[in-house]
Structure formats: structure tokens, C-alpha cells
Symmetry: D2
Subunit: 345 residues, 4 copies
Amino acid sequence: MLKVGIYGASGYTGQELLRLLIGHPDTDVVTITSRKFKNVAVSEVYPAFASTTDLKFADSSPENIISSCEVVFLALPHGEAMKVAPEFVAAGMKVIDLSADFRLRDVSVYEEWYTRHTSPDLVQKAVYGLPELYRDDLKNARFVANPGCYPTGIILGIAPLLKDGCIDTSSIIADSKSGASGAGRELQFGSLFCEVNEGFRAYKIASHRHTPEIEQELGRIANTAIKISFVPHLIPVSRGILNTIYADLQNDISESEIFGIYEKFYGDAKFVRICKPGSLPNVSSVRGSNNCDIGIVVDGRTGRVIIVSAIDNLVKGASGQAVQNMNLMCGLPEDTGLDHISLFP
Amino acid sequence: MLKVGIYGASGYTGQELLRLLIGHPDTDVVTITSRKFKNVAVSEVYPAFASTTDLKFADSSPENIISSCEVVFLALPHGEAMKVAPEFVAAGMKVIDLSADFRLRDVSVYEEWYTRHTSPDLVQKAVYGLPELYRDDLKNARFVANPGCYPTGIILGIAPLLKDGCIDTSSIIADSKSGASGAGRELQFGSLFCEVNEGFRAYKIASHRHTPEIEQELGRIANTAIKISFVPHLIPVSRGILNTIYADLQNDISESEIFGIYEKFYGDAKFVRICKPGSLPNVSSVRGSNNCDIGIVVDGRTGRVIIVSAIDNLVKGASGQAVQNMNLMCGLPEDTGLDHISLFP
Amino acid sequence: MLKVGIYGASGYTGQELLRLLIGHPDTDVVTITSRKFKNVAVSEVYPAFASTTDLKFADSSPENIISSCEVVFLALPHGEAMKVAPEFVAAGMKVIDLSADFRLRDVSVYEEWYTRHTSPDLVQKAVYGLPELYRDDLKNARFVANPGCYPTGIILGIAPLLKDGCIDTSSIIADSKSGASGAGRELQFGSLFCEVNEGFRAYKIASHRHTPEIEQELGRIANTAIKISFVPHLIPVSRGILNTIYADLQNDISESEIFGIYEKFYGDAKFVRICKPGSLPNVSSVRGSNNCDIGIVVDGRTGRVIIVSAIDNLVKGASGQAVQNMNLMCGLPEDTGLDHISLFP
Amino acid sequence: MLKVGIYGASGYTGQELLRLLIGHPDTDVVTITSRKFKNVAVSEVYPAFASTTDLKFADSSPENIISSCEVVFLALPHGEAMKVAPEFVAAGMKVIDLSADFRLRDVSVYEEWYTRHTSPDLVQKAVYGLPELYRDDLKNARFVANPGCYPTGIILGIAPLLKDGCIDTSSIIADSKSGASGAGRELQFGSLFCEVNEGFRAYKIASHRHTPEIEQELGRIANTAIKISFVPHLIPVSRGILNTIYADLQNDISESEIFGIYEKFYGDAKFVRICKPGSLPNVSSVRGSNNCDIGIVVDGRTGRVIIVSAIDNLVKGASGQAVQNMNLMCGLPEDTGLDHISLFP
């Protein structure tokens, strides 16, 4: 049994990690930390865990975790993860960071969109944790930067077309919609039930921090710098992200050829499900699972391809992908403990 | 008092018309018809009306309505409205048709997207009922084709930019999201609570019937044929449409210049509210009102303008706009009976 | 035009008052106060008001309001209203307090359930603002304690049976369910979208502060001390309270006799709607309106009567009832400005 | 591996059974039947199953299932199950019927509340499938009548008090609230999103068919005939039932004694979780799991005990309990394949 710890586990991402790791056949969650809920039983904060675990949140030091665990997940806000990651990495642990701190390879880009980076040297050591793109690197990785929720679905949605060179790289638009858990469990007016319920709105148009992360990865695939228009929206659901991605086709290519490109690209990927022609994804079909569903339509009237991708932002968009990365890093089958069927309805 | 009738009033659009007309100071609803609910009190089908009206649904013939009303609203499915509209028009009534039957000027386009047209001669007599574009025509109109819900918000959102010639007319993408009442009160699996709740999905990508209606009107404004990519989605809310519209700017134009273009275009429009720079619309801010809120962002990184428009699909997207058209046709102030403040939360 | 002020207007109750008063034909809202949003336009905090009002929140002193208004609504938390009410009352204004501070006639009961009372002398001057019970008193009142949301629906639901003496007064159970706006716009974990959505729970079982208010009024009607079991629950909707009330029938009385009792009791009440036998209320049928819908069922198998009442907690349960009281206090028809038809769906 | 079949699997209960059985380590789902979806892949009807199973719905005869399976689940409407159950039972299969057809021991009571019974002889052979009450019987059972969703939560909630004789058996009131999946996937107006969303209502007050089932089981525990008042309500959530149960305490008994009674009664029950004093259940804490959470409060002011129980209606209220029964019938540990942690948020 792998001994694992979760550092900063009081938010929705942390408790989702705990749900997945308790159900994982090869892991033993030794410590979960939280200053806010220090010494409080997990089941008091999250009653869903009653009768399942006796774990309490601890205000543990990194040393505690280093001495008791082989793997640590950092579920901290950006800016906080970079403060503790170096110590865990230096101790030789396997580290999976769910924050944004080590996702951007160019420190100056990070500092432009986020804040000053206090561990710039460590940035180059991190492997970007999107297994469908970097599986082999992840098998040998000791330090993984787990992708953001929006980037995961958008990159998986458009990667095959970029790889194949069949779209105009300057034409990409990602219109994304996320459930409310994407904002975390912070107390803010915009997250109150009465403000979200029966509402729908865009936010941070063309200025969301996930933009450079998406552009970095799309650029690596296309081997050229890429800029996209990225517009996130807030859906009144708890979980789920749906991305509708638009791009101009370079040349005459049929819908069935495009399906072929996707099937080839994702041939061995267990969590990417290409919807049959005529079918489209729904966030309710991936809720609670680690799947990314992708639908493809060619708009022949305008010469565009329209891709729709759906994930559960807390699973494939965060904690499930972190477990998938852990599996790869630890030599386990990639889907171990991740075979949940979406809860519907 | 204007004597009005609603022909085919059993759906959500019909009852919303009734709500607005009962609250209207200058109208008297004389008849509402429904075969399905013949002789049933409105308040039995829609308990919200209890103590407000004693009206019963009647299975009235057009002649009944012609003899008792000055204005008739047709709230029938497409294909049905074209069967009765000629009789009402021939009788000299003021007719407002909420179906799609008379919105498309080119009958062959109608027949391509809908069904065979049985009253093609009448098509040219209909005025397209978008007051912000055709106010003067509507003041003299006797037969109005009330716009579709998606077209209303999309056309209002992008019209000023097309008028001004500042965008590439081949670059328009409308990513739209509608609440569930847009599908009407028909019994279908996709409209069940458990299928919609906690879900979010796209549908009819690049193939929705509102596409040619949007393109017709955008083309008239731009004075050139226009094709757009239009993708509707289903939001788990009862009311509201939010459109996110993308277009490439033709030349260097600042965000504040664009705000100026919108303010000039909508100077005298009572129901269009331009959000201040930095603010964005939310469907919850227009719910129950006849307003269309518009937000504007220039994405300088990609040279695109991104417009967000929000309406209540049952009010500005259907019944409220129909009343606005009636006001114009009957010489009343345009906003009579339409001063509802959105119900929030 | 009546000049009115709203003191402490930043919450959901305050903005709902504003919605109703702007639509009221005989009132002019002169001032609305808020420390938190001092000098901010109402439409920035609540975008629904854009284009409708230019009012800004002001940090006004009571003197300001006294010099400019005839009527003041206090929309403050309990404990705060009692600090300013005396000054407004002493100045001869008409004062409607939406807090709990002056609802309980017995100061010791207030202090047991709430906090120390700093204006005990004023308590006896307040009229309990439930027009269906105290209409004549309210016509002459200058200081009104507006009822709580739960008490309004429960008292209206059970009052006729108590008046008539046909139930065992020791057997009353009120199982109540409220939408999330009942908790106000405070930042607390339990009010976050992700905590409320797809959830349902009871809270403060047999210990909610509205209990003594309900018991006081039921006791006055029955002319005997009454204790009830009151259990509130949280529904994942924005607005609405539904109360299911159980009582043992004293003697053999038929359902139709009970309907007769209700119709007689509420004969002249414009906002109470008795559902026809076999029909039951739904919070969605009163949303946005000042109505209280009441359904009645006799459970012959157990000798109980079961009453269901539904209101919009922000309207009949707070701001609408406050306007109804203002109408009575000012000699206006009771339903002036309160003829909204529920927004459905 | 146990070979199992699901007969009549197209509804929400059937697909939930499939979710649980695919995840069960000791079962192999051989056949699932549906006339409506004959030859359609499960993943086309329920996309959540894509990549998980290749099963297609079949229009199989009972003989097919008898020859290929050891266990069959009947997920048919009442009235239909009684037609096929005899053949399966006669063939010696283990049969778990999720309908109401064999729950009521007194055929005349069944016929009063449901319809004519065509297999009255088989009624006495069925074991009522509530493992927390009949575990030993179920270990030897070949034919199980799986309980209704409301009865499960209500019986589990009140059983310990009845067993212990500490409440007045004539005083029981069950005020229950269910999510929309309880109505199944039938096309009816009342199940449309727009009718359920933002609504809350009671239905079938004191006349719901689950009443005699609840009374039968409560009477067996108390060893006396019991009548209750049972009022179901519809919550706008997909899953979950919360029951608030009221009863008069017979004599002076403290809250802590009552907690003792519950802990003793449910000592060995893996799926019943007694909430700590001061804590109360929430349907969101059991969603997707087989747990029944129970909260207990004594209302000393009125001499009542108030019990709140929460289950997922599709799991412990239907399919999960069916699997729990299968485990017992087949000699497997009771919780095999049922260790899901609730999906929250």
C-alpha cells in the first residue's frame, strides 16, 4: 500500500481526492492537513465520510508528511504551493501539485498572470500532468504540475487537430462553462446559492489565468506560438465543465476524417471517450468519473470545426487526474481506482 | 381598452402573454384558445393566475376572435400559424404571429429549414417584429412576425458592429445558452427534470432552425450575405438566454469607441441596457423583464470583439416583444405594460 | 406621492422592498441607506435595477430620513432595529420594522430567544403587522412590527381552525420548508451554492427563533397558551416557503365544513387564496406575488387535518407584507402596488 | 461470478442497478431487458455507461433469463412484476422484485391501494427486503420484495422507538420529501424541468400508496395495528429522500437514552449512520451511497421526539438495497460492492 498525504485538504478538491484515495485499492491515506479545521474529524466537515474514515485534519508540518508518506498531493492555493513544494521535492517524495504554481514553464508568464514566483528553479523540473499528452514523461516523473480544470478539457478537445495541422492556429476560440465547485469553497458573494441559482453569466472574458496555460500546451503541440480567445461562464450546477471550441479548417477535410484523427490520437487513452457522430457530450454523463467526453461537428457552411468536450472539474479537472498521475508515477495501471461510472441522474 | 385574443395559449409563451396582458393598462383579454384545455379555467392549468382571472380556455374559431377582438396573438407551433394567419389578416385585424412561419422572407429558405409553406403570398406582408431595428415599419404594420428567442438576443448583440462595418462579416460565431422553457411544455425525455438538472450540453450544433433567421437579419444590416456558426446549449434554469458572440475586428478600434457605437445605435431604445465597461450581463438580471442587457469586451490579444447579450426568452424573446410590437402597432408608448423589474433572487 | 425611506437596504429584503416600491403608483423612494454600499448605485449591487432607478445607497442618519420622508421601513438585523426605531417613532413618522425586535409582546420571551432588549417601552406600541388578523388596528397604526416569514404562512394556515375551536391546541406540528433567500445575503458556508444545491436538510429543530412568535399569535387567536413543534428545512430554491401543518381534529368535522370555515375567515382577504378541494399549493405559484395559497386535507384515517400554506418569503413573508401594511397605515387600498402575478415558470 | 439479469431495465432504477452491479466484484450482468429500447446499446440511452459496457437492451423472454442467470432483478411497474415473478420463482432462481406487488402480506390491502392481484399465492413466500429488520430471513430467502423508497427511510427512522415501546403508536406523522427521480422516467407534465425547478409542493396527502406498506411494517415491530399520517413532497433535486418523523413520547425519556436505543438497535448495521447529537442528515451526504443517515432530537417543550432520516431513493431506496439483499441471499458479505462514498458537492 502506498502511503499518501494530502497537504491542504479542506476544500472541495481536497475532499474529492480523499474520496478517490479511500476507494483506491493500493493507497493508504496517512495524513490530511488543514489549518482551518485542525483536529476536526473529516466527517464533521464533510458528513459524506461518516462511517468511512476516522481521519482528522492535522496541522502537520512538511517534515511529518515526509517521514510518513511516499506521495504527497498539494491542494493549496497558488502562491502557497510554491512555498512548500521545494522541501517535499528535495526529500525525494513523489509530489503532485494541484495548484497553478508549476504549470507555466516561462516564469515571466507566470509572474505576469499570477504573482512573483519564489521557486523559479523548480519550474523546469515539473512535468505537466496531462497523461494523454505526456504519459511517458509522467512514468518517470517525481514532481508533477497537475493541469487546471479548463485547460484539461480544452487541450484534450483540440490537441488532435493541432497535432495533425488541419486548423488555422490563429482561429481558436474556447467558449467554456463551469459548475460552481470550480470556484472552490471560499466565502464570496458570487458563490452564494441565491446569486448562482437560476443565473448564467460570463466572467473574466479574455483575461482568465488559465489562458496562458492553455496557450502554452497548444503551442507545444502545434510547434508554434498560439493565442486563443477564452471565455469562461458559470453554470448553476455543482460539477462539470463543458467546452465548446471553434476553429477554422485549413483545407477540405470531412467529418469522418476528423473522427479518424481523434480515434488515432486517443487510441490507448482509457479516459477519453469520443462520442459517436451525431452524439454530443453532457456534463451529467461524466459527473463523478474521470472521463473526458468529446463530440465533433464540422460546420460545412462556414468551414469551421466545432469540438465539445466535457469533464467533471473536480475529477478529470483536478483530483481524478492527480490520482491518474500518481498511478503512472508509481507504476500502477493508469486507471486503478478510477473506474467510477458517472452518477446519473 | 384594446380587445385582444390569444390563439393557442396553453404553452409557456401563451401564459406569459396572458401575464403581461392582464397587467397591461390598455388591454382587455377577451379570448384565449386551446383545444387541449377547452373549457378548463386558466387558473387550473396555471395556478399562478388564481384570483386574478376567471378566463377559461376556449376552442374558439377564428371567426369568434375576429368578431370580438382588434388584436390577435398567434401562439401556435410553426406550420399551424400559417393555416390561420390569412383569415385573421384578411379580416383586417392586427395580427402578431409568434411562430416562425412568416419570419423568413425567402420562402425557399423557410421550406429548406422547416416545412412546405402554405401561405407564401402572405410572407412579404409581414414585418419582422424587432422594434429596435424596424420601429417605424412596426408603427404602420398590421401583420408582424415576432422574432425567435435566439435571433432576438444575437441580432441585438451584434447589429451595431455590422451597421458600422467594423467587423469581418465572415467571422461571426454565436455561442448561445438557453433555459429549459425555450423547449416549450411538450412532453419529451430531454425536458424531464432529471435529464436537465445538473446537466449542460450543446444541441443542434450548426443546424438549428434559427440560423437562417439570424443570417437574414444580419445580412440586411450589413447589406451583404452573412453566414455564421450558431451553437445553442441548454442551461438548467427555467428562463433566460445568454449569447456570447465572437467576431474579428476589421481594424484597430478601441473598446471605448465600440461602446460609443452601441450607445449611438441604441440611443432611444428603452429595453436595451449597455453594461458599463467591466460589467457583464447575467440572465438573472433580466428574468421576468423585457430588457436585453449587452456587455462588450475587446480581446486585444487576438483582435476580436466579444459581445454578451442576455434576455428572458419568454419576455423579450417572445411574449414581451410581442406586446412591445402591439404597443407600436396600436399607437401606444412602446413600453406600456412592460416596466417589470427583474425578479431577483 | 408618499415619500418613503428604506433604512438598511442592502440585503435581499431591502432590494425586494425597492422593487415593490418603485412599481407602487403612490410612493416615491427618497432614500435607501447602507453603510456597506455607501455611495454605490443600487444598480451596481443589483443589476436588475439598471435603467429603472438612479438611486444610490446612502449612509444617512435617521435625522436625514425624518426630514425627508413620511414613512420609513427598517430592514435591519434584529438587535439593530431597536436602536433606531425609537427616534423614528418619536418623530411621528410611520415606521414599519421588518426585524424581530418588536414582534414579541413579552419582553422576557424576546430576551430568552434573542438578546437583551434596549427599548422595552416601545414594544407595547407596536402593532403586529399581519393584516388578515389585525387589519383595523393597522389602519390606525404608526408603528408596525412586520411578521417573520415562517410565522406569516403558519399563522395564516392554522388561524381559522383555532378561531373556530375545532382542533386540539396541544397537537399542532408545523413542518416548514424555506428557500435559500430566507437566510439573507450573509457570507456563510451553509449558504454557498455547492452546499445548498442538490441538498435538503432540517435545521434548528424545535429551537428556531420564530417559534415563540408563532405561539404568541396562535395563543391570541385561541385565547389559550399554545406550544407547537416547529421544524424548518432548507429547499434548494431561491424563493418560497411551504408549511405543512398537522393538528388533531376535536370532533367529527367534514372536509367541506372546514373549507367553509376558511372561506368565512378569509372572506375579504385579497391575498389569501384557498385551493379548491383536491388541489394543493406550490411555492412556484406564489413566487414574486403577495399571495398566500392554502390547501386543506382531512386525513379521516387518523382524525387529523393537514393544512399546506405557501408564500414567497421575500414578498408576503417580508417586503410585500410591509407594503401591504404601509397601504393600510396610509389609507390606501390594501393591494395597491401588489398585484403581481407569479412568475412561472 | 454470479450471473445476474435485470428484467425491465430502462428506467432510472434499472440503470442504477446496472451501475452498482458493474461495479460489484462478484457479479456478471448477463442480460438486461427492455421492450422500449430493444437492441439499443445501454450507452446510447444512458451515455454515462459509454466505454464501460457493451450491453444492449434485449427483449428477452423469462426463459432466456432462467437459462442464463442465477439471480434476476425485476425492475417493472407494479402490476407487471406479478405477471412474471411466478415463472422465475418456479424455476428456482433467486428473485428480487423492486415493484410493490409482493410487499403487502394482506392481498386485500394490496387490492384496495393498487390493483387486482393475479398471484396471491406467491405473496406469502416473499420476504420483505429490509435487511436491518429481516437479515436472517433474507439469508435464506429465494424471493424478496424490495421495499419502497419512502417506507425504507421511514421504517428505519422510527423502528427502534417502536421496538422499545417508548412512543404513542397513534401519534406518528411522517412528513417526507423526495427528489424527482422518485417519479421515474415517465413522460408527465409534473416531471418536466420547468414544473419541478424552483418549486416545492406536497402531493397525495394522506393517500399515497406507500402508506399501507409503512403501516404494515411498523405494526409488525410494535405488535399492534398502526395508522400514520404520511405526506410526501417533491424536492427540486434529482436524488434523495428526507423524512421528518414526529411522535409523542410515552414517558419521560432523555435524548441520550434515545440515542442509546438507536445505537443498540443498529449495532451491526453497516449502512445506518446515527448522526451525533446536534447534527442532522442532509440528502447530499448520502447521494450515490447505500447509507441511511438518522438524526434525533427530543422536543422537550412538547414532549415529542423528532427523527430525521435521509437516503438516496435510487440506492438504499431501491437498487442499492436490492444489491444488499442479493448479497445476503447469496452468502456474500452484506456490503460487497456497496462501499460508495457520497458524491459531494
